[in-house]
């Protein structure tokens, strides 16, 4: 069990800088991120892109900013759990207990959600009743390919994962059908060529310029309907349907924690960026309030105010006098 003052969910720039602001108040931080490295979007999506609106830096590359933040918070010895997603949050007598997807437990006094875009979850096709068959024939990802051995499997989508799984599952499934709304694939050309070859050899059934329109079954999926380019409809028997339509950022499990949420973002009080649950704060791109701007700059400000409030939450009887780093320097721990 990891014990800390503040558990920060999300190790993007705002989560990282919060370690600094908390550190000035001698509060220890542990950070959790679903990604395998720190930096959030900056490291994962645009490490080499320049950012122009960080005060004092006319231009700084995203990864450079992350590296600098890591250097800046070093004196406060933050600890990290990376590559794990936080699933549950429970109130305890002294604060909160959090648990990750891999079972790591964190005991903390304050929770700070700096989750940015949230976590990326599979995008679901807009088909009536598809939710009824989730886990009962409809899977949005392939966890164990063996599930599909000797089965009649329909995949939908045109990206890399649709192509890759079509190729892989064609080796073990009884029958594979790939449905794609275009004539061409934007996935890796090698994989696309392989899929066309498999279709030519009759090893898979490839339906191009086609769309999924409905799913049916009795408790368990047994058929899907597909509409072709000429609007003709075709019903296909299916044991499994695997829609692979990419990932879309969602709040994920955080949405189930009882927080007040508006349009995929957590509502906060701008006095201190606290949420409706005392001891839980939300800062950076994941929060919302009137006039909200999704800027790193604003997230830094929110982190500073959050830290002051978190201190008062943890030590209601202690006096907190505000100090400048220029006057007092940084006391590491």
């Amino acid at each position: 069990m990891i014990q800390t003052d503040i558990c920060i969910i999300g190790a993007g720039p705002v989560g990282l800088f919060s370690v600094f602001e908390a550190g000035l108040l001698k509060l220890r931080c542990h950070l959790v991120d679903a990604l395998p490295q720190v930096g959030g979007q900056l490291s994962e999506i645009y490490p080499k892109k320049p950012i122009y609106d960080i005060p004092g830096f006319p231009t700084v590359k995203a990864q450079e900013l992350v590296d600098n933040l890591m250097e800046q918070i070093k004196p406060f010895n933050p600890t990290f759990t990376l590559g794990e997603r936080l699933d549950t949050m429970e109130k305890t007598a002294t604060g909160f207990q959090l648990k990750t997807s891999d079972g790591t437990e964190i005991d903390c006094k304050v929770v700070v959600i700096a989750g940015g875009l949230g976590c990326f979850e599979p995008r679901k096709p807009p088909i009536v009743d598809i939710a009824k068959f989730e886990g009962k024939g409809v899977h949005y990802m392939v966890k164990d390919p063996e599930t599909f051995r000797d089965k009649n499997v329909i995949l939908a989508g045109g990206g890399d994962s649709a192509l890759d799984w079509t190729i892989e599952l064609s080796k073990i499934a009884k029958k594979i059908t790939l449905i794609h709304r275009n004539e061409t694939f934007r996935g890796a050309p090698d994989s696309a060529e392989k899929v066309f070859d498999l279709a030519k050899e009759g090893k898979i059934n490839l339906l191009l310029k086609s769309n999924l329109t409905s799913v049916s079954g009795n408790g368990k999926l047994n058929a899907v309907k597909v509409q072709g380019a000429d609007k003709s409809e075709l019903e296909l028997e299916a044991d499994y349907l695997i829609p692979l339509f990419g990932l879309s950022p969602k709040l994920g499990p955080i949405a189930e924690w009882g927080l007040s949420i508006d349009k995929n973002a957590i509502e906060v009080n701008t006095t201190d960026y606290s949420t409706n649950i005392p001891g839980v704060y939300a800062i950076g791109d994941i929060n919302t309030y009137p006039g909200k701007l999704k800027l790193i700059l604003c997230g830094f400000h929110e982190g500073a105010l959050m830290a002051q409030s978190a201190f008062k939450h943890i030590y209601p009887d202690k006096h907190l006098s505000f100090k400048y780093t220029t006057v007092n320097g940084i006391e590491s721990f």
Binding site: L117, P126, R186, G246
Partner: protein, 110 residues
């Protein structure tokens, strides 16, 4: 010309004409948000979330071509069509005058 007019069809089917400045370097996504259309824009305009997906019903051919990031994202969308664009990737310009766009984000993202 500083202002153009863009017609927007919302999820109820209603079409409204909105005025759009072309001299502020705004994207269509920003314009839609400013006019209080239900566009989440979760990713802030980086072509990552597709919550600003629109179908350009008139004026599609006048638009600049989609970049790779935009095409990759559109390609993953279950309801994409030939006239799908991400509003965040469309900078407002004079060529868009009179365009008709239909909101087309995933219903889970509203």
């Amino acid at each position: 010309m500083a202002d153009i007019k863009i017609r927007v069809q919302d999820y109820t089917g209603e079409i409204k004409e909105i005025e759009a400045p072309t001299d502020m370097n705004l994207s269509l996504m920003e314009l839609l948000k400013a006019n209080e259309y239900p566009v989440l824009a979760t990713c802030g305009g980086m072509a990552l979330c597709a919550t600003c997906h629109v179908k350009v019903e008139e004026g599609f051919e006048k638009l600049s071509e989609s970049g790779d990031n935009e095409l990759d994202m559109i390609d993953t969308l279950p309801n994409a069509e030939y006239n799908s664009r991400l509003a965040c990737q469309l900078r407002l310009n004079d060529a868009m005058d009179g365009m008709l766009v239909r909101l087309a984000a995933d219903e889970n993202d509203l």
